[in-house]
Subunit: 138 residues, 3 copies
Amino acid sequence: MRQSTRILRIETGGRGFYEFTAALADFVRGQRMSEGLLTVFCRHTSASLLIQENADPSVLQDLEAVFARLAPEGAGYAHDTEGPDDMPAHIRAALTQVQLSIPIIGGSLALGTWQGVYLFEHRRRPHRREIALHVMGE
Amino acid sequence: MRQSTRILRIETGGRGFYEFTAALADFVRGQRMSEGLLTVFCRHTSASLLIQENADPSVLQDLEAVFARLAPEGAGYAHDTEGPDDMPAHIRAALTQVQLSIPIIGGSLALGTWQGVYLFEHRRRPHRREIALHVMGE
Amino acid sequence: MRQSTRILRIETGGRGFYEFTAALADFVRGQRMSEGLLTVFCRHTSASLLIQENADPSVLQDLEAVFARLAPEGAGYAHDTEGPDDMPAHIRAALTQVQLSIPIIGGSLALGTWQGVYLFEHRRRPHRREIALHVMGE
């Protein structure tokens, strides 16, 4: 059994969904493992991870509207010194994922047909985000 | 250290909770590992995973009501071509888990006394769902 | 590749956030692994896990207010025999994490600068909580 780690850097253009499934598949392919486990970890508290449908972009548009309702700006937060989008960012991160682990079967990630892996940027401005990857298998 | 993978198939009868803790325990028992880690991954974006109390069924009834409120049908979604329960299904999946990893200690899953592992089916109609399993340990 | 498990016990003083990042870092340091994966699993359905900002305590205060709104007490739940805070506890657990896996890189947990790992106690009264840890690496 072998393992490997890497820090993946993603530049976001502000609030929204950034698919990086292909970067994960590339990393896994380079390991030449037939079976294993990939772990994806977001090193931030104002961005997070989400696996969602990558076929119809309107799914992501609706998801954005849902999170805008669950974590509204200007709701009288105690934590407001970093801008009106900061506390909503922490709430969005709390309600989604900071980490995902995906089995590797037959040399590939065992994602379903329509599943894409997204970085969910919660801040309005562009950010550089770091994703820690860990894979083990053989 | 050894590893093993499997695809588990679950037939759902439409929206609701389907416990499959016993199938996971069987899979782990067959591995004869005293310590390790089981990863459970749902290969869908309109069904998800949840660990909840398996003692009183009214907990699941209340949870269903909560998600019906957080992800209502007919809320004017942009994504509506696959039926009124489709976008709510994606929202329910985003707010719960696509993946769970459970330590194996003393030869068994380290679940708490009242913890059951459920497939949370979000669509109204019956579906065949696939769960990818990965276990490693010795 | 080696692995190790442990049960970590945390005494809570009732509803709120209890950071235990230092206990995780100690456990990992004791393993003397340069690369690996730590998995943290909460063995309860009325407490859960959350990674959040550990710099400004007002973030946690706002998060508490958000979950009080998403999972209100006295909302006419079917499951109410264990007290008014019990069903809200299950809802809070469903919306957050039961498990987190964190890569180990360069001998340390690959947490971001501001990320702290918290036990999120959902019941009003103090409880003894058990967290199962699993680490593998070398």
